[in-house]
């Protein structure tokens, strides 16, 4: 038998024949590794996906006409086509028109509701979204003022772009709550407004939501400005400016919680190993009396620490992975991809931390005097 094998044999036997001692430390390492693996997986994976979702809390780019003329929807569509397809959340045209309803002046807005749902997902509608040319969405303030509710009729009248009078019977499909100025307007499908007002194919502005950071957004704006001279893009800060910092703060919080758990794990491992060293003072003294060098004693306890770290980490990492999956599915509603790099990192980190937690116990072990083997208890 080689010395190498004897070392492993002592290590293995010491661990397996004295199992109960190790269970608390093993559990602590497993929990630490699980939290590390779980939190890091979520931190790495979810924000990447959530950026897109966060971004959808409002347009971060607005397209208007470069001159005083109305914005051509065709030009706007060309501009939107310049944006990377996989990052485009939505693009919504808005066309404003002063009208009257039962002698009451108000602003009618033509838009595309299927895009509104993407760029303004916080809009809440009581009743139905408008579906055809005769239905509209009444802002909550308008509805209250005029006594409107879903199903009620409303006559919209005014003068079109050429000065001719128009009048249209419409039905309220739903009442809109946004908490913003939209509650003062009525919204209809853009083709309906185009029919009433004339000048089809134009809008006042197009709100665009792109899932990217502000630097990339500025670059995209520049390329639109270069390529399409009639369109003036500009970045807008709505929810967008705070979303990055919210994510950063959440991430920092998770890092801090993980760090605290890891510190607790290390304390638990250090305490267990210290107990083990105290319990085995006689054995350490004996080994020293037999001529063991300090580094041999240190190597044995370090070996035990590393085994403990690895043995606790493996199930812990598996657990953390399941935890991350469950949290991903139940809290964020998404499937989290397995990250082998992160898993390896988790294994190394938890094993290294376990070994680091053994430093003080090892110092205590090395300090044991050989003379104590001859002394009574």
């Amino acid at each position: 038998m080689t010395k190498h094998r004897m070392y492993l044999k002592m290590l293995f036997n010491s661990l397996t024949r004295r199992r109960s001692r190790m269970i608390a430390a093993l559990l602590a390492v497993a929990v630490g590794a699980a939290v590390f693996q779980g939190m890091m997986t979520i931190c790495c994976d979810v924000p990447r996906q959530m950026e897109r979702e966060f971004r959808s809390y409002g347009a971060n780019m607005v397209l208007t006409a470069a001159d005083d003329a109305a914005l051509s929807l065709e030009d706007a569509a060309r501009a939107v086509a310049l944006l990377p397809e996989d990052k485009l959340v939505g693009a919504t045209p808005y066309r404003y028109k002063p009208v009257r309803a039962h002698m009451q002046p108000l602003t009618a807005v033509g838009t595309r509701f299927e895009q509104v749902k993407k760029t303004s997902p916080w809009w809440r509608v009581e009743g139905e979204w408008p579906s055809d040319g005769n239905t509209l969405l009444a802002g909550a303030n308008v509805a209250e003022f005029m006594g409107l509710e879903p199903g009620k009729g409303l006559t919209i009248s005014g003068r079109n772009a050429k000065g001719a009078r128009f009048s249209q019977e419409m039905t309220v499909a739903g009442v809109l709550r946004t908490g913003g100025p939209e509650e003062d307007f009525v919204f209809m499908n853009l083709p309906t407004l185009e029919e009433l007002d004339g000048n089809p194919g134009t809008a006042d502005l197009v709100e665009v939501s792109v899932a990217c950071g502000s630097e990339e957004l500025a670059k995209l704006s520049d390329s639109i400005r270069r390529e399409i001279s009639t369109v003036a893009p500009r970045s807008v800060k709505r929810v967008t400016s705070s979303e990055a910092s919210v994510l950063t703060r959440l991430r920092t919080l998770v890092y801090m919680v993980t760090a605290v758990v890891l510190v607790l794990t290390m304390i638990c491992v250090a305490t267990t190993m210290m107990t083990v060293v105290l319990e085995r003072r006689k054995e350490i003294g004996l080994k020293k009396a037999l001529g063991a060098e300090n580094f041999a004693i240190a190597g044995e306890f370090l070996g035990e620490g590393i085994c403990l770290g690895a043995a606790g980490s493996l199930p812990g990492i598996a657990l953390g992975w399941l935890l991350a999956r469950a949290i991903g599915l139940n809290v964020f509603g998404r499937v989290i991809a397995f990250n082998p790099f992160l898993t390896l990192a988790a294994l190394l980190v938890s094993t290294a931390l376990t070994a680091a937690a053994c430093v003080l116990p090892i110092r205590a072990a090395v300090a044991v005097e050989p003379s104590l083997v001859l002394r009574g208890e």
Binding site: M1, T2, K3, M6, Y7, K9, M10, N13, S14, R17, R18, K282, E283, L286, K287, K288, A289, L290, G291, A292, E293, N294, A296, E369, P370, S371, V373, L374, R375
Partner: protein, 227 residues
Amino acid sequence: MDIAAQAANILELRDVSMDYGQVKALQDVSLAVRKGEWLAVMGPSGSGKTTMMNVIGCMDRPTSGEVLLEGQDVARLLPGALTEIRRDRIGLIFQQFHLISYLTALENVMVAQYYHSMIDEAEAMGALERVGLRDRAAHLPRQLSGGEQQRVCIARALINYPRLILADEPTGNLDEANEAIVLSLLRRLHEEGSTIVVVTHSPGVAAQAERTVVLEHGRIAQSFLNR
């Protein structure tokens, strides 16, 4: 003492004192042990016997005095050097056996080889055979009787061919039958030329040695030849 006598001494203590704070565990002890001698150390509890064994066995350094091991003063050596001397020259037998609980009898013997130099399983088995425990090689300490454990301890003590065997009350935890076995093993080691220092409370055990010294309050009170 003349040069020839000094060369024949494997161990010599010169005015060795050991203080533990106020407690004077050893006071100016001087003692010479010849190569191949079998010496018994007796004395009441707390008289300094174990302290003397620790000093002789290079496990502790005295407060003052010289400890000559084969002519070399080890009293002032650093812990690292003491470790080396323990490993190469001293074999230890304990009252409490001190076998490692999670290793088999054979592995307990091999541990001494492990820290000493190379592991030789056949040789370790041979040592177990010498103490009559070949068939118990794979047993854990808790599966062995006290006498058997002590024999494993003896096998471990002699595996590296130490020049000095130190036994602190080796039969203190054994019944008469096992005491007889241990004594016959020590006698055989003595006949083979080993130097043995054995601490004991038992006059019967002490009588087996060639010479007895009696410690009292950290001093040598008597010294006499048994034969």
